[in-house]
Symmetry: C2
């Protein structure tokens, strides 16, 4: 297997950037073709199920979405394999074909790709869909490129080279100076969250835990028995990848979510970390005030992201981010998404 | 006062289109200037209050947001007044200066403008902000133009001339054929809703009524005592104007909201209606199965919007939309936003 030392990051980054743009063009062509009547309207649903992914391939069979997804994944995989034949490739398709539920990404140079993130958005032609391409070394995402063709937005980052919107605007966008985290965070923060596909209406289901957490974050400060967070806004886009990208931009202060897989988050994490953001676990520890704040595991399925921050007169950027993490942990419930061997 | 007969709609439409693009350019310049350090970061909050609007002007004083808002409104008003001096002009500024809470738009030719919709988004530089310009005759929005400069999206419509994205793509986007409403709607639908600014944590507050409605729409079909709607996705963008625009595009099947004012919705309603959508009231009538489905009043503050639909083998487009309205009404609570003399 190739050694990490052999990898020329600059070369890989340039390749990934072009690849995301080319793949984004395929997505762009595909939705435009649908508008011209080429392709049925097929609102294929991933029904509520613990086993979402394995069910998906069947449900998608024959649908336009499925064709687009498979075409773009095949294109990206082919391009990577011919240019970097020794690298690993991890995608949703590979996973759903029966890989175990182990962590999928090891120490070797690995590509992790979601050819079409924002499934439901794409199906309904809501612009928040994208292709997401990450490259990892020793399990860490060091390159990420996200292309959202409908909105003409490309987010990219390579470790040590900054994070960028459309290769010209450095992220976060507000950086003269980068604003510190609000002093009463989560008050003043834009909070991004997703309803997801697990809609079981059972006591203490993930749906109920999520909604309880959302309401805590949203309610007035005096509300919810002291848990009211009075966030500035609550947003739900339907794309984990773009949630992370907008955290990197500084648009979203906080993103909290469970249930994603590696390909949903790897590129976004690379971009957010390079922009100066913090990503850790969604699930609150026993003592949120004192627990060590660990760096996220890409395959953990539980994510809490904080935007890049600046120093304030009274605390460093990292201190402000960690304070925000603790305040979120005090307001959210544990989510029940497991990795069997985690 | 000018008579409706004197109005040349084609001339007004061309003028409104150019005006929205010019005003959008001002917004685009303003956020870019902030990125370059010109302007403080000022997350001015409209605190929770029944009387949100009158409080706003003070809270905004001196902020970058306030300057941008006022500059763009002054520009738009000046342009309209010099070209069409006999027309009325209604904007948030005029209203907050002490106009009564009467319906603001009468029978005469009237412009209704929101120079910057998506306040919180703009403040945090999340791309979902826009300028919104409507022209009304006899109280009905007959022209609407929305420009969202960060995303390069212009939505426009003039009665009888179709609704358009960027003047080139007719709305809804999927139109060969236009999909009928899903047979089990709201299942299969993308449901757009907003958390809003009223975050009071009191029994039966608007926050609680909204959340109860959101959860009904989201939960599995068997859940919530039969009210589970299992929508395909739940989205919250933080812009009523863009919620309506994405309904016109066909991206959102259902938008349900209370609390907006005329300038938040007038242009969006013009575009959605011209695209073939239905807009009625958010609050369910006594008998949702049989009540007449009235056309929306622009100033009603309560909105339920359904996307343009096609006929199915078993029902007309309108029948499918009305069926969807009734199914939403069965799942949502009354919201408590009043118009004192309504």
């Amino acid at each position: 297997m190739p050694q990490t030392d052999d990898v020329n990051l600059e070369e890989v980054y340039a390749f990934a950037l072009q690849l995301a743009k080319d793949a984004g063009k395929l997505l762009d062509d595909a939705w435009r073709a649908r508008c011209n009547g080429d392709g049925l309207v097929d609102q294929v649903e991933k029904e509520s199920s613990v086993d979402i992914v394995t069910q998906t391939d069947e449900a998608r069979a024959g649908s336009h979405y499925s064709r687009t997804f498979k075409d773009v994944e095949a294109f990206v995989k082919m391009k990577i394999e011919s240019r970097f034949p020794a690298h690993h490739f991890v995608g949703e398709e590979a996973y759903s074909k029966g890989a175990s539920r182990d962590y999928l990404i090891g120490q070797d140079p690995t590509w992790c790709v979601d050819p079409l993130d924002g499934t439901v958005n794409y199906t309904h032609i809501f612009p928040m869909f994208c292709v997401s391409i990450a490259f990892l070394l020793e399990g860490a995402p060091v390159i990420g490129v996200i292309n959202a063709p409908f909105m003409h937005q490309t987010f990219s980052a390579c470790r040590g080279k900054g994070a960028w919107l459309n290769e010209t605007q450095r992220l976060p966008l507000l950086r003269n100076p980068i604003p510190p985290m609000p002093k009463d965070a989560p008050k003043g923060c834009v909070f991004s969250c997703e309803w997801g596909k697990d809609r079981r209406d059972r006591p203490d289901s993930n749906l109920h835990r999520k909604v309880e957490s959302f309401v805590n974050m949203a309610a007035e400060i005096s509300g919810r028995g002291g848990k009211g967070g009075m966030v500035h806004g609550v947003r739900s886009l339907g794309s984990a990848t773009l949630d992370l990208a907008y955290c990197a931009m500084g648009s979203f202060d906080i993103w909290w979510e469970g249930g994603c897989w590696e390909w949903d988050v790897a590129a976004g994490i690379a971009i957010l970390q390079e922009a100066g953001g913090l990503v850790t676990t969604a699930n609150p520890p026993e003592d949120p005030d004192t627990a060590k704040i660990e760096e996220v595991k890409v395959g953990s399925r539980l994510y809490l992201a904080i935007r890049p921050a600046g120093d304030s007169p009274t605390e460093t950027a990292r201190q402000g981010q960690e304070r925000t993490v603790r305040e979120v942990w005090k307001r959210v419930r544990h989510l029940d998404y497991v990795r069997p061997d985690a």
